[in-house]
Symmetry: C2
Subunit: 201 residues, 2 copies
Amino acid sequence: MGRRRAIAKGQTILWQGETASAVANVLSGTVKLSATTADGREQILGIVGAGGFIGRIDDKASAFSAIALNPVEICLFPRSAFVAMAEHHPEVGAALLERALADLDRARRWLLMIGRGTAIERVAALLVDFAGESTSTRHAFPLSRGQMADLAGLTIETVSRQLGKIKSAGLIAMPSRDIFEIRDMETLRAIAGEQPGNRPH
Amino acid sequence: MGRRRAIAKGQTILWQGETASAVANVLSGTVKLSATTADGREQILGIVGAGGFIGRIDDKASAFSAIALNPVEICLFPRSAFVAMAEHHPEVGAALLERALADLDRARRWLLMIGRGTAIERVAALLVDFAGESTSTRHAFPLSRGQMADLAGLTIETVSRQLGKIKSAGLIAMPSRDIFEIRDMETLRAIAGEQPGNRPH
DNA sequence: CGACCAGTTGAGGTGGTTCAAACTTAGTGG
DNA sequence: CCACTAAGTTTGAACCACCTCAACTGGTCG
């Protein structure tokens, strides 16, 4: 049930300020939630992957936009149908609640990082996050420098410089500019100020 | 149902890093959710008032502490009982979901403010929030300068200086140090960068 | 080859922090 | 009623992390 829809990379699914009458489920791909201040500064507020939920349950205006970072498939529901389903199928509602609380947790952890972390701490946190639970040491950057900057609340230049610092400290290697290899995960986590399980997305 | 419990001002209800086996509902009073970095910098992640929910549904460690800002009454449930109730009573689950999504919204709005806002914008946003929907122009600061700083991701000194600036610009008056009167709400909202409905808590 | 785009590097400016001192206010006891 | 204290706040000066602006580099695609 719901209408399936393909979204091209870079296309906006939901506009900041819009009051959407539909909600969506992400089937595949990655979506960024980002807001822009009146004078054009952008901040990424969250990243939604497969299984994630986009939209509002009430009819208020959205505080942020949802934009596809790569080709995305979503499943659209009218809001009323969605709410009804959540109320009649407890297991759906419970899953939704669980996800909302997990998202809330991530948003709050990120809030600490942005509010109190230095530039190098934020960039280290991004790297730790990109590495995820994966055992392999080699990774591609899933985000451009600009997107990393918008996520960390920094500028492109600062992100680039901090990556340089981390590289020359021997914590990572960067064989090409969109690939990094973790050399010292322990120190990296320490810089990121990682309490166990500190993953923004 | 659940055990009722009175908490004194300043007492910690939930410790950062703790894995609590109980969740709580706030009956009265105000609780701050705050996290502290390894080197002692604190960031308030959220404010929970009456009707709010504290705790985790899973058994992971909490990323933040919950501390009473004033005398608080809470109602404690074992986590399992709470989860069961949410699953068997759809309307409870729905209410919980609604609140979680609202909290998520506030956290994300605050993330934008913290990530991209200047000091004066953050302080103005606090004032607008304190004023709330109230029609009266005179208000008491519900938080100390230090708490405002921890909430805005600034230092006490910066909060004090920005308040001074806002005062001498004639946007507010401060007849005593814990009372303020709004003189120019429109400009204040404009500085806060308020998209309609931009309230962090 | 040349244009373009993302990323890097450099130099200088600035907003917010840090450290320190003065001030205010409420509470306490002589 | 007046020190005296203690906690919170304000103010000042110097510093530094990050931003801004600008030039440069290295890939990629026509």
